[in-house]
């Protein structure tokens, strides 16, 4: 009647006690590849089947510990090491606050990984069919019967012995289940491809019309479109239609005191350089000097830049006048401008100006060093070199 190889022999019982005694006998006879299908869990079945306790618990334990470790490390790294934040005056590593997250992640990872591992390793996902599916046996055990089947692949498999055993234990029916014929479907049938294509077209059209025409809603742009004047935009409110307004005269920026001697030829007061000539200050001064001062005054302040001859000739800063100028006066010149030199107050900050002055002093000293200076420098280089 069936040319396919035998998969299993199955027996159906009508009462739980009978099946437990039958299963006990099967297990005692040494069969290993057999399984039981009952409409509800039977107490004592695990023992009768001689099932070893499942290894699934170890997977749960492992992933639970992984979840706990992940949560703790994440909280520790983000909140205590990488971006320490003070929250509610608690320490950076506030363990009690991390415990709820740890608990949740432990439970989440343990349960989700248990289910996934159970499906993949134990149920061999994506096995979507099994020979006992779609048999009379399966229909019975999904109803009010209790069934057991022994696979032909079992090394001890003996059809006659099993049939006798099933009959002795009071089986209602004994079935032989055969492997189903292998069915092969070509993947790329024209019909199937047409179907896919039409699904694609119809879904796209429906989606486009329903989202863009039928159910179109104005996006929530309350943040982008506000009832206020944006910068560099026209204004309907002001008569000159300028959105940007000139500040009221005398307006001062927050945290900023304007330069006192602006527009004066000579500052009314002498200012002292607040920055000591440390290496970092000189580094900054050099950088800013080369950027903003050297185009006119030259890389070494000799007044020999590439602009010489094309423009009003910039002076050398090694003149006696320049060397005897106070720091405050040079600061005044940079801030206020002098003769052809414009104000540099918008290009270099106050600190940068004082740094430039410190650097300029170094240049001046280097160009006009006295014997005493050279001795000093030699002494320093020797002592540095030891």
């Amino acid at each position: 009647m069936n040319n396919n190889p035998l998969f299993a022999v199955a027996a159906v019982y009508d009462n739980p006690d009978k099946i437990i005694s039958a299963v006990t006998k099967i297990a005692n006879s040494g069969y290993r590849k057999f399984d039981v299908n009952t409409p509800y869990p039977l107490h004592g079945m695990d023992g009768a089947m001689k099932l070893k306790s499942s290894k699934l618990g170890f997977i749960t334990l492992f992933f639970g510990l992984m979840g706990a470790a992940t949560a703790l490390l994440l909280a520790w790294w983000t909140l205590s090491v990488d971006y320490p934040l003070i929250i509610g005056g608690k320490p950076f590593f506030a363990l009690p606050a991390f415990i709820p997250v740890t608990f949740e992640l432990t439970v989440l990872l343990a349960t989700v990984s248990t289910v996934i591992c159970m499906l993949t390793f134990f149920f061999r996902f994506p096995a979507n069919s099994y020979p006992i599916h779609d048999t009379q046996y399966m229909k019975d055990v999904s109803g009010d019967k209790f069934g057991v089947y022994v696979e032909a692949a079992d090394s001890r498999f003996d059809l006659t012995e099993l049939t006798i055993l099933f009959n002795e234990t009071g089986a209602v029916r004994i079935d032989q289940i055969y492997l189903p014929a292998k069915e092969v479907y070509p993947l790329f049938q024209p019909k199937f491809l047409w179907f896919l294509f039409s699904v694609f077209v119809i879904t796209s059209i429906i989606t486009y019309f329903s989202l863009n025409k039928l159910m179109y809603m104005e996006p929530f742009d309350w943040m982008a479109d506000q009832q206020k004047q944006s910068v560099q935009k026209m204004s309907a409110f002001y008569s000159d239609e300028f959105g940007m307004r000139t500040p009221v005269k005398g307006t001062v920026a927050r945290g900023f005191i304007p330069y006192k001697y602006l527009g004066q030829a000579v500052p009314a007061d002498t200012m002292k350089n607040p920055l000591p000539p440390t290496s970092s200050v000189l580094e900054l001064g050099k950088k800013k000097f080369l950027t903003f001062c050297s185009p006119c005054h030259g890389n070494f302040a000799d007044g020999d830049s590439r602009l010489r001859g094309q423009f009003v000739n910039p002076p050398s800063l090694h003149t006696n006048r320049a060397r005897t100028m106070t720091d405050g006066f040079i600061y005044h010149i940079i801030t206020n401008g002098q003769n052809a030199m414009p104000s540099y107050s918008s290009q270099v900050t106050r600190e940068e100006r004082w740094s430039i002055i410190n650097y300029l002093r170094v240049l001046q000293k280097a160009k006009n060093a006295s014997d005493a200076d050279l001795k000093m420098a030699k002494k320093e280089s020797v002592s540095d070199g030891k």
Partner: protein, 394 residues
């Protein structure tokens, strides 16, 4: 089957158990009296610890019985008598409450009229926290517990001879009434006897905290006794490891529940860090008390959790005995941790007085148990669910 039932229904416990209980109780109490004259406050605080420990085991056991009836459990029927014997502590609680009720003023700050008058908070709480109302509540709760204990165990005992199934139904109804009563009484017991030791403090979860400890203690006592009786062949042979597994699983569950509730209480107070609340935990951390706090977490949660985590461990006699005994000690430690730091400026110290009363308490439990075991069947032979309970398999 019938033969077996009779053989195991009433197997007398050896006399030395009764004697041991008697010696423990007498020596505990006689040293307790000496302790009272030596350091009245410490003695009474320890007496309170013992009293609440007995409430935990007695009333907690009654709750376990009610739980069995209301969920129609079968597996616990063969061991229900053991739980009932433990619940027989309830009548003694009335007598045992007397020393506390007479000497309330030694341990409770709010009993001193002068203190209450000068303290706005205590004055506002005085409509609830006053001696009359306190005593009334304590007595009413004791009467409620005794009433339900008497009704439920009487029906259970009657069934032994009559085998009347209607008695089970009556007990289910009684349990349905008892469980909400238990919830309310155990909450207010915790508030009255424990929270009011530091009357300025409040925690809305405190009742559940005590409840969780109560159930852990009752389950531990039941588990310990069941394993011991089983090992010494006092139990029906059909009470197998599968029954123990159910006990172990329940115990594991309630250990987790205790940890969850204890942490929930701590987390909110720690996070908010409001002076009205946080001083309670400060008292239990400063002055050396942090040792007890950490020990409590380890003994009441960490160790039992790890020991009972795996499935085979829940059937392992040794591990069950170990964790049950440990949890009983941990519950005493829990009460010690709540009660002792409440007295003013107390730094952590251990005295011989702290060991006297737990010994007496354990003696009382043993005496009450063996008294009942001598007179009543160890199996509820008339219970309609007994057969199914004995055939229980995982």
């Amino acid at each position: 089957m019938e033969n077996n039932l009779l053989r195991y229904s009433n197997k007398a416990l050896p006399k030395r158990i009764n004697a041991a209980g008697f010696i423990l109780m007498i020596s505990g109490f006689s040293f307790g009296i000496i302790a009272y004259f030596y350091d009245a406050q410490r003695a009474l605080q320890n007496y309170l610890i013992m009293y609440l420990f007995l409430i935990s085991i007695g009333v907690g056991s009654l709750f376990l019985i009610a739980l069995e009836y209301i969920v129609n459990a079968e597996w616990s029927v063969p061991i229900r008598r053991i739980i009932e014997f433990l619940a027989s502590l309830i009548p003694y609680l009335i007598v045992l409450a007397l020393p506390l009720l007479i000497k309330l003023n030694i341990i409770f700050e709010w009993t001193h009229i002068a203190v209450v008058r000068d303290d706005k908070v205590l004055f506002d709480k005085s409509p609830y926290l006053n001696i009359t109302f306190f005593v009334v509540r304590a007595v009413v709760f004791l009467l409620i517990w005794n009433l339900f204990y008497w009704l439920i165990t009487r029906n259970s005992l009657k069934q032994d001879t009559s085998g009347d199934q209607a008695l089970t139904k009556r007990n289910i109804k009684l349990s349905a009434v008892f469980i909400p009563c238990f919830a309310i009484t155990i909450t207010f017991t915790a508030i009255d006897w424990l929270m009011s030791l530091e009357p300025h403090w409040f925690s809305t979860i405190f009742g559940i905290y005590f409840f969780s400890g109560t159930i852990v203690a009752a389950l531990s006592a039941v588990t310990l006794i069941v394993v011991l009786l089983k090992e010494n062949n006092y139990l029906h042979p059909k009470i197998i490891d599968d029954h123990l597994y159910s006990l172990g699983a329940l115990l594991f569950g309630f250990v987790n529940f205790w940890g969850y509730i204890a942490f929930a209480q701590y987390l909110l107070i720690w996070y908010a860090d409001v002076p009205e609340e946080n001083f309670w935990f400060m008292h239990r951390w400063q002055n050396g008390w942090w040792i007890v706090s950490l020990l409590l977490i380890i003994t009441h949660f960490v160790v039992p959790y790890i020991v009972l985590l795996s499935q085979p461990a829940k059937m392992d006699h040794k591990k069950l005995k170990f964790s049950a005994a440990l949890l009983l000690c941990a519950h005493i430690l829990d009460l010690f941790w709540i009660v002792m730091p409440s007295s003013q400026n107390s730094s952590f110290s251990i005295s011989w007085i702290d060991f006297v009363f737990p010994v007496a308490g354990i003696g009382i439990v043993i005496l009450a148990f063996s008294y009942k075991a001598k007179r009543e069947n160890l199996l509820p032979v008339g219970d309609p669910k007994l057969e199914r309970g004995l055939n229980f398999h995982l």
